[in-house]
Amino acid sequence: MKLAVCVKEVLDSRLPLQVVPQTGEVTHLASARVTLINPSDRAALEVALMLKDQNPDSRVEVFSVCAAGEDNALYFALARGADSVERLAPDRHLAGPPYTALLLASRFANEKFDLICCGDETLDNSSAMVGPLIAELLDYPQLTGVTKVRECSCGKLLAERSLDRGHRELIEMELPGVVTFKIEAAEPRYVSVRRLEQARRREIAVRQLDIVPSKSRLPRWPDAEKKVPPRARVKRKFTPDSNLPPAERVKMIMAGGVAPQQSSQNSAILEGDSEYLSEQLFRFLRHHEFI
C-alpha cells in the first residue's frame, strides 16, 4: 500500500507570538522562530506509520508545500521514519490553502497513492480546506476529522469520527481516498534530537510544479483588504451559576456557557452500598450523556 502524508511547518503557538504591523507577518516575540510540525499533521503521519508497521510492504511518502527554509516538518517526518519526503515549491504570489491543495492534488494525479493522509487543520490558518480540496480535485472519497483508524485493508478503510457529546460514528471508505485526522487520532512518538540531526544530514527532494490555478475549479482565497489590530477589551471569564447543581454546571462549562438553564430537580443525595451507588452514578452519567 502506498501512503501519502501532507504536512506543514507551523510556529510554536505556546511561545508568545506577535504580528509585525508593517508586513502582517506573524513571528515569535523576543525569541528566534521555533517551528513544529503541525500537530494534526503529526497525528496523520503517525497513523500512516502505524499502518506501515502493520503492513511492512507499505511505503509512506511525505509532502509539504513550502518555501526552502520552511521544511522543518519534512525533516521531522524523515526523522520519524517516513520512507521519502518531497518539498513542492510554491509560487510565492499564489499562496493560500486552495493553491496548496491544487499543487498537492496535481502531484497525486501523477502518481497514485492508496491513502492520502492530512491533518484536519493547521495551527495557523485553521482553514481545514486542504484535505477536502485534494479529494475534490482528484475526485476521491474523503473522510474528515477522523479520530481513529480501526482497520485498513483490502482497499477499504474503517475509521471512527467523534461527534458531539461523546458520540462516535464508524465509517467505511473505499480506497483510494483522502482522510484528514484530528490530533487525538494517534499518540505521537518522540523523535530524538539524534534522529533529527541524522535527518538533517539528508537531502530533501524538491519538485517544481508549474501550475496556474484555474479559477473556475478553485474557491477564491480572499486577500485581506485591511488588517485590523485587536480592540482592547475587558477579559471576561465564564463562570457557571453556583446555584445550579454540579451536573448542570459541568454541562454549562462543557458547552462554553451556552447551555440552557434547567430546573434543578436532577440532583439528589443517594445512600447505599458501593455497588448500588456506582450503578446509580453510571446511569446518571449515561443519562446525561457524559459517557
Binding site: 516575540l29 512518538r189 530524538s192 534530537v193 539524534r194
Partner: protein
C-alpha cells in the same frame, strides 16, 4: 633423626595419578573454553569508552583482592569472603607446592619449611571452612532477604565444603597411618588422626579409606574447576575483571552514548557495550543494589539486580541459540522498570564489584528514546526541553518573571563580575523553588558578593534530557551554554541546584580541563559564614532539624560537610541525622527525570523518605536542592503533615536568621 617431610602421593597408584592430572587438565580446559565463549559474546557488544590501562587495572584488582574495596561496609560478609578467598588461595598455593616438589627437580618440602607450610595450609583450610560455614549461616539460617535462594549457590557452597572436609580427612588418614610427632603442626589433620586411632581403625582400613577419600577429593576439585565459569560461579573470575576495569570518570558524570551518529540501535541485546555485558557476568547476585534502591523500597517494578541478571541471562540465551537470532534487551527488561530509576546512584555506590548499574538503565532508556517509544509525560518533558529550553514546558520568556521586583544585576558589556548566579529552571519556574532563589539573592546582597544573573539567557543544563535518554538534546544544551559562557567570559558560577552543579562540574568538560569553576551554594554559604560576611542572629528556641542529602550533591559529588556546616551554624537549631544519611542517603524520588514523570507503584519515594525524616523527631527538614524540596514538600502535603513538618533549603534558613 627422623626426616621432617612426607612422601608425596603416598598410597597413590599410577592410575589415580593419571585420573587426577587428566581430570584437572580437562576441568581447566572446560572452564577456559566456557570463559572464552563468554569473551566472544562480550565482544559482540558495542565498543565502550573504556581506556584500559594495565597498571591501573592491576592495582584495582590487587587492592580489591586484598579486600580494600567496598566489601568491608558489610562486616560479616566481608569477613566471610576474606576467609573463603584467602583460605582458597592458601590451599591452592599449598597444592601447587606439593606439585612442584613432586614433578620438578626442585626439592624444598622438608624441615622447617615443611612445618611452617603445613601449619599455614591447615590454618587456611580451617579459615576456608569457617568462611563457608558463615555463608551457610547467612543464607540458610539467617536467611537475609536480599540474598536470592538458588540451587546453583547451594551447589557451589556444598562443593566447596566437601572439598575442604575431604581435604582434612585425607590429611587425617595419612597421618594416622604413621603418626609422626612433628605432624602436630598440621593441627586439624593430627586431631583427626588421633580420633581415627581412638576409634580403633586398623592401619589397613585407614589406608583403604585414604585411597577412597583421595579419589573423592580429586573428583570434587576437578568438578570445581570444571564449573568455575558456569552461571553463578563465573563471578569468581569475572568480577575481578569488572573491578579492574572500573570507570575512571567522575561519579556524577554519565557516560556518553556509544553509538555512532549514523547507526541506529538494532534492537538486540548487543546494543549494550561489551563492558555492560562483562559487568552482567560479574554480578554476584548479592542484592546490595536492590537493598538500597529507592524505587524498589517504594514498591515499584525496578529491581536493579534483576536488570543486571536479566542482561546476563539474555547473553546466555544468545550463546545457546543456534539460529543466529539475537534476543533484545526488551524481551525481559520492561520499559516500566527502566523509567522507575531516579539515577540516585545508590546501586553503583553499593556494588562490591563496581558494576555500573544505573548507567545500563540510562543506556536502555536511550534506546527507547531513540525509537520514540516513551510515555506521553516523558515526551512532553523532552519536547518542552527541545522547544522551550526547560523541562516544565514554560515559555522561556517567563524565565525572569520571578525576579522582576528584585531588579537583579544582569551582564553589563565590558564589566566582568566575579560570580554568575545560575538560577536553573526549578529556581525560575517552580514556585516553591523560587523562594530559594529569592533567599539566595538576599544573602548574596547582604554579603556584598559581586554577582550577576543571566536572566532569559539561561537555559536548561541538559541534566534531565541526558538522564531521560536524549543524549543529542543534552549535547545541544551543553554546546549552547558553553557558547553563552564563552561569549560573556564567565569563569565562576554558583548555583543552588545540585543537578545543574553536577552537570556543569562533571559533564561539561568532556574529559578535558574545565572551562569554568562551579560551586554549589552550600559551599559558598559555608565560606561566607566562616569568613564572617554573614552574621546570624535569632531565637534560641531549640528546634530539631534533620538534613536530607541531595544525591547529586552528596553521593555523586562527595559534598557532605558544607551544607551541614551551614545547618550547624544556624542559631537555635539542633541537627539530628536520619538513619540513612551522607553516602547512604535515600533519594527524594525527583532525580533522573522523575520530577516530570508519573509515579507508579505502591508508594512514592518521597513519602518513604519523609516518614524517615519524621522518625527522627525533627519538625524541620533542611535540604540543599530545589528538587528535594519540591518532592518532600509534596510528600508532606499528600501525607497531610504540612503543618507538622517544614521543608526548607539551607539558603532559606540562612536568610531567615541572617543579621541584616
Amino acid at each position: 633423626m627422623e626426616q621432617i617431610t612426607r612422601e608425596i602421593e603416598w598410597n597413590v597408584t599410577l592410575w589415580m595419578q593419571v585420573f587426577l592430572y587428566v581430570g584437572a587438565f580437562a576441568g581447566v580446559l572446560i572452564a577456559g573454553w566456557r570463559l572464552s565463549r563468554r569473551y566472544h559474546v562480550w565482544k559482540l557488544g558495542r565498543s565502550a569508552n573504556v581506556q584500559v590501562s594495565i597498571p591501573r587495572s592491576l592495582a584495582n584488582a590487587i587492592a580489591w583482592i586484598l579486600n580494600r574495596g567496598k566489601m568491608p561496609r558489610d562486616g560479616f560478609a566481608s569477613l566471610m569472603h576474606l576467609l573463603i578467598l584467602w583460605g582458597f588461595i592458601i590451599l591452592f598455593i599449598g597444592t601447587t607446592l606439593v606439585f612442584l616438589e613432586r614433578q620438578t627437580p626442585l626439592h624444598f618440602f622438608y624441615g622447617p619449611f615443611y612445618l611452617v607450610a603445613s601449619a599455614v595450609i591447615d590454618l587456611g583450610g580451617l579459615g576456608f571452612l569457617i568462611g563457608l560455614g558463615m555463608a551457610v549461616y547467612r543464607r540458610y539460617v539467617q536467611r537475609q532477604p536480599r540474598l536470592k535462594a538458588s540451587a546453583w549457590v547451594g551447589t557451589l557452597l556444598g562443593l566447596m565444603i566437601a572439598i575442604g572436609v575431604t581435604g582434612f580427612l585425607l590429611e587425617g588418614f595419612r597421618i594416622s597411618v604413621t603418626m609422626p610427632g612433628f605432624e602436630k603442626v598440621s593441627f586439624v589433620g593430627y586431631g583427626l588422626a588421633l580420633m581415627f586411632r581412638a576409634g580403633g581403625l586398623a592401619t589397613e582400613e585407614l589406608t583403604r579409606l585414604h585411597r577412597a577419600d583421595w579419589l573423592l577429593h580429586a573428583a570434587l576439585s576437578i568438578a570445581f574447576f570444571g564449573l568455575a565459569t558456569v552461571y553463578f560461579f563465573r563471578h569468581i573470575i569475572v568480577s575481578v575483571l569488572s573491578v579492574a576495569l572500573r570507570p575512571t570518570r567522575a561519579r556524577g558524570a554519565l557516560r556518553p552514548y556509544e553509538l555512532s551518529p549514523e547507526s541506529n540501535p538494532s534492537g538486540s541485546v548487543f546494543d549494550m557495550t561489551w563492558k555492560d555485558l562483562l559487568d552482567a557476568d560479574a554480578c554476584t547476585a548479592c542484592g546490595r543494589c536492590t537493598s538500597v534502591c529507592p524505587a524498589t523500597a517504594a514498591g515499584k517494578t525496578l529491581d536493579p539486580r534483576g536488570v543486571v541478571l536479566k542482561l546476563s541471562d539474555l547473553v546466555s540465551r544468545h550463546a545457546s541459540r543456534r539460529d543466529g537470532t539475537t534476543p533484545s534487551a526488551f524481551d525481559t527488561i520492561t520499559e516500566r522498570e527502566l523509567w522507575d530509576c531516579t539515577t540516585c546512584g545508590a546501586c553503583v555506590y553499593e556494588c562490591p564489584v563496581d558494576i555500573e548499574v544505573f548507567d545500563k538503565i540510562i543506556d536502555l532508556r536511550r534506546q527507547l528514546v531513540d525509537v520514540g517509544n516513551i510515555s506521553p509525560a516523558a515526551r512532553g518533558c523532552l519536547e518542552g526541553l527541545e522547544h522551550r529550553q526547560n523541562p516544565w514546558d514554560y515559555p522561556p520568556a517567563q524565565r525572569a518573571t520571578w525576579s522582576e521586583t528584585l531588579k537583579l544585576p544582569g551582564i553589563v558589556l565590558g564589566k566582568k563580575p566575579e560570580w554568575i548566579y545560575w538560577i536553573g529552571c526549578a529556581g525560575a519556574f517552580e514556585p516553591s523553588a523560587q523562594s530559594i532563589s529569592r533567599a539566595m539573592v538576599e544573602i548574596l546582597r547582604q554579603a556584598k558578593v559581586d554577582f550577576v544573573v543571566l536572566g532569559s539567557e539561561e537555559r536548561c543544563t541538559g541534566d534531565p534530557a541526558r538522564r531521560m535518554g536524549d543524549e543529542g538534546l543534552f549535547q545541544r544544551f551543553r554546546n549552547k551554554n558553553l557558547e553563552t559562557f564563552r561569549r560573556h567570559g564567565i569563569h565562576k558560577i554558583v548555583t543552588h541546584c545540585p543537578h545543574c552543579f553536577n552537570t556543569f562540574k562533571n559533564e561539561y568538560r568532556d574529559g578535558g580541563e574545565p572551562e569554568f569553576e562551579v560551586i554549589h551554594h552550600s559551599q559558598l554559604l559555608s565560606h561566607l559564614i566562616s569568613e564572617g560576611k554573614i552574621r546570624l542572629t535569632g531565637s534560641t528556641a531549640d528546634k530539631q532539624v534533620t538534613f536530607h542529602d541531595p544525591c547529586y550533591l552528596g553521593r555523586h559529588n562527595g559534598e557532605f560537610t558544607a551544607p551541614r556546616t551551614v545547618v550547624d551554624s544556624l542559631p537555635g537549631m539542633k541537627r539530628v541525622e536520619m538513619p540513612r544519611s551522607r553516602e547512604k542517603s535515600f533519594c527524594c524520588g525527583g532525580g533522573g527525570g522523575q520530577m516530570w514523570l508519573e509515579s507508579r507503584g505502591q508508594q512514592r519515594v518521597e513519602n518513604v523518605r519523609l516518614s524517615e525524616a519524621r522518625q527522627t523527631g525533627a519538625s524541620l527538614v533542611a535540604t540543599a536542592c530545589p528538587f528535594c524540596k519540591v518532592m518532600l514538600e509534596t510528600a508532606s502535603v499528600t501525607a497531610g503533615q504540612q503543618d507538622q513538618v517544614k521543608i526548607k533549603d539551607i539558603s532559606e534558613l540562612l536568610s531567615e536568621t541572617m543579621e541584616r
